[in-house]
């Protein structure tokens, strides 16, 4: 099993750092999956995560000038590693003024992802920072739990408002209640509601637009005004929103009534899917 990759340009390095910062905000521990043309950051929907799951995908050639991997075997040419997300983002933080960044799989007393950064230096000498991030290699037996989630057919699919706005609304709502209802319809309307004994607060977003319906049988007869709602733990929604630093190129929300909310984002060329289950 081998993995080594190199980034030599500042833009790619910053982009990769931003992705890793986002992952660190979304999941404390995650799985890094390496295949010849892609990298995935995965959070599987275990009880430990509160049922939240995440699938982040990037094309390696958009970032790395060199990329070599050899999976567990020829038929299973994949590598699954578990790591603490913050370690990666911390390691990349030191690469802000780097000439080159190298990542590779090593075994230093225990398996590590070694991030090696050559820093720009005023003098002729170079400074090298090396971080050994401890990882756990995930055996083949467990790969089935880490596959790309199947997106169930949504009741409503809608484009999201500016995420920063959503975040500040949710942040304030969190002070009032932990139970949030998110609902949307095919008329470009999305509402976020919280309700307590004393107060009921709803924030309305209009004219958001809905993506064209995927299937024809979807709803010629369905009332576009009809809302599909999901009850969520507000903290899970907030954690998702806090992780989005920049406004994405594309942001879609799929609601499966009373079951889950699926966020489908595209940050430049990195896709992020985030699933929050309904409160039981």
């Amino acid at each position: 099993m081998k993995f080594r990759a190199k980034i030599v340009d500042a833009a790619s390095l910053n982009h990769f750092t931003r992705v890793s910062n986002m992952i660190a905000k979304l999941a404390k521990t995650c799985t890094l999956r390496i295949i010849p043309d892609k990298l995935n950051f995965i959070l599987s929907d275990k009880l430990a995560n509160g049922g939240v799951s995440m699938w982040c995908e990037l094309e390696q050639e958009n970032f790395f000038s060199e990329f070599q991997m050899e999976g567990v075997s020829a038929e299973n040419n994949e590598i699954y590693l578990e790591l603490t997300s913050e370690n990666l983002s911390r390691a990349l933080k030191t690469a802000q003024n780097a000439r080159t960044l190298k990542i590779k799989l090593t075994n230093k007393h225990f398996p590590c992802l070694t991030v090696s950064v050559e820093l720009l230096s005023v003098s002729s000498s170079s400074r090298i920072v090396t971080h050994d991030i401890p990882i756990k290699v995930i055996p083949r037996k467990l790969w089935k739990d880490l596959q790309e989630p199947v997106v169930p057919h949504p009741d409503v699919s809608i484009y999201l408002p500016v995420l920063k706005t959503m975040k500040s609304v949710v942040e304030k709502m969190k002070n009032i209640s932990n139970h949030l209802v998110i609902e949307a319809n095919l008329n470009g309307e999305l509402n976020m509601k919280i309700e307590t004994e004393l107060v009921c607060v709803t924030t309305h977003f209009k004219d958001l637009g809905n993506p064209p319906l995927a299937s024809e049988n979807a709803s010629q007869d369905r009332n576009p005004e009809q809302m599909a709602e999901v009850h969520l733990d507000i903290r899970k929604l907030l954690q998702f929103l806090v992780g989005q630093q920049a406004n994405p190129t594309k942001a879609l929300c799929n609601i499966v009534r009373n079951k889950m909310v699926h966020f489908d984002l595209l940050h430049e060329d990195v896709s992020l899917q985030y699933f929050i289950p309904a409160l039981s």
């Binding site: 603490t84 590779k104 398996p111």
Partner: protein, 312 residues
């Protein structure tokens, strides 16, 4: 120290308003009197109570230390940036190619399954104005204190000299300019106690010559393959994700006997990092200098003074 500092807390305010500062001792009332004579006839008097105490005199002599390095504090200040803020101790030493290495020091607990990230900073000797030390020497000391004295030296734009000796002997950090002469003495981790090891001969403290200093050219071979074979066969029947840590525990490592100049070892693990942690034997005095660092020592505890009377 805190009460004394609070008098001078706002530098901006002091620069703007204070014309004169008088410090005197009122031994009758056991008060240190700090009087700030400010503009417009305003006078601020601070009475700080004090207690007489025994003063510890540290015995140290930078000249007796065989190893020394000298550089602008900024170089070292930048060098400690990549380390996590919570990291307690750091190892400083000389590695391959006479590079100065700073490496995070983790006290490994044998039964700990949670591994922490290791960070290493490698600086070329050209960044140092003076470097008098051979490859392989290394000492480990408190990073928090080091950061404290570095930020002081950096803010005054001064150079720093580090004098050190064998592990266990104090490391002396000196800063000098026209106004002050500061010596910061930090204890360093001593070598492993021979009795605590079951590997026979006592392992020396981390030998930096064996540490990986990534070369600037491309990667050498990884070692992960042999580990993977072991892992796949062991976890074949299990569904647990736990690593077979048994195979990783630093038992005798025949393939990695100290061979510092072997080229294949470049990217391999540091072979002589002891598996069981060296007990923290701070045999030397831990002493803040005449100009105490801004941060109060929270470093390695407890502090042991040689031949102390009755202290714990």
């Amino acid at each position: 120290v805190q009460s004394f500092l609070s008098v001078f807390r706002s530098l901006a305010m002091l620069e703007r308003t204070v014309e004169k500062c008088c410090i005197s001792l009122n031994s009758r009332n056991s008060r240190l009197v700090v009087q700030l004579h400010c503009k417009y006839g305003v006078r601020k008097t601070h009475n700080l109570s004090f207690q007489d105490c025994e003063s510890l005199q540290a015995v140290f002599d930078p000249a007796s230390c065989p190893h020394m390095l000298h550089a602008p504090a900024r170089v070292l200040g930048e060098a400690v940036l990549p380390f996590p803020p919570a990291l307690a101790e750091v190892t400083l030493g000389i590695g391959h190619g006479h590079r100065v290495i700073l490496r995070s020091y983790q006290e490994e607990e044998a039964d700990s399954t949670v591994k922490t990230m290791m960070t290493e900073m490698s600086i070329g000797e050209e960044d140092f104005q003076q470097l008098q030390a051979q490859e392989g020497v290394a000492v480990t000391f408190c990073l928090k204190e080091f950061r404290g004295l570095l930020s002081f030296a950096e803010s005054a734009n001064l150079n720093l000299s580090i004098h050190f000796d064998a592990p266990g002997r104090p490391a002396i950090f000196t800063i000098k300019d026209s106004l002050l002469d500061a010596h910061f003495v930090l204890a360093t981790l001593s070598e492993t106690d021979p009795h605590s090891k079951d590997l026979g001969s006592p392992e020396p403290a981390p030998q930096l010559q064996d540490y990986s200093t990534p070369h600037l050219d491309d990667f050498a071979n990884d070692d992960i393959d042999s580990y993977m074979i072991a892992m796949e066969t062991t976890t074949g029947g299990e569904s647990s994700r736990a690593l077979p840590s048994v195979s990783l525990s630093p038992g005798p490592q025949p393939s990695h006997s100290p061979d510092p100049h072997s080229e294949e070892e470049d990217e391999a693990e540091p072979s002589t990092v002891p598996g069981t942690p060296p007990p923290k034997k701070f045999r030397s005095l831990f002493f803040g200098s005449i100009l105490a660092p801004v941060h109060s020592p929270q470093g390695p505890s407890p502090v042991l003074a040689e031949d102390s009377e009755g202290e714990g």
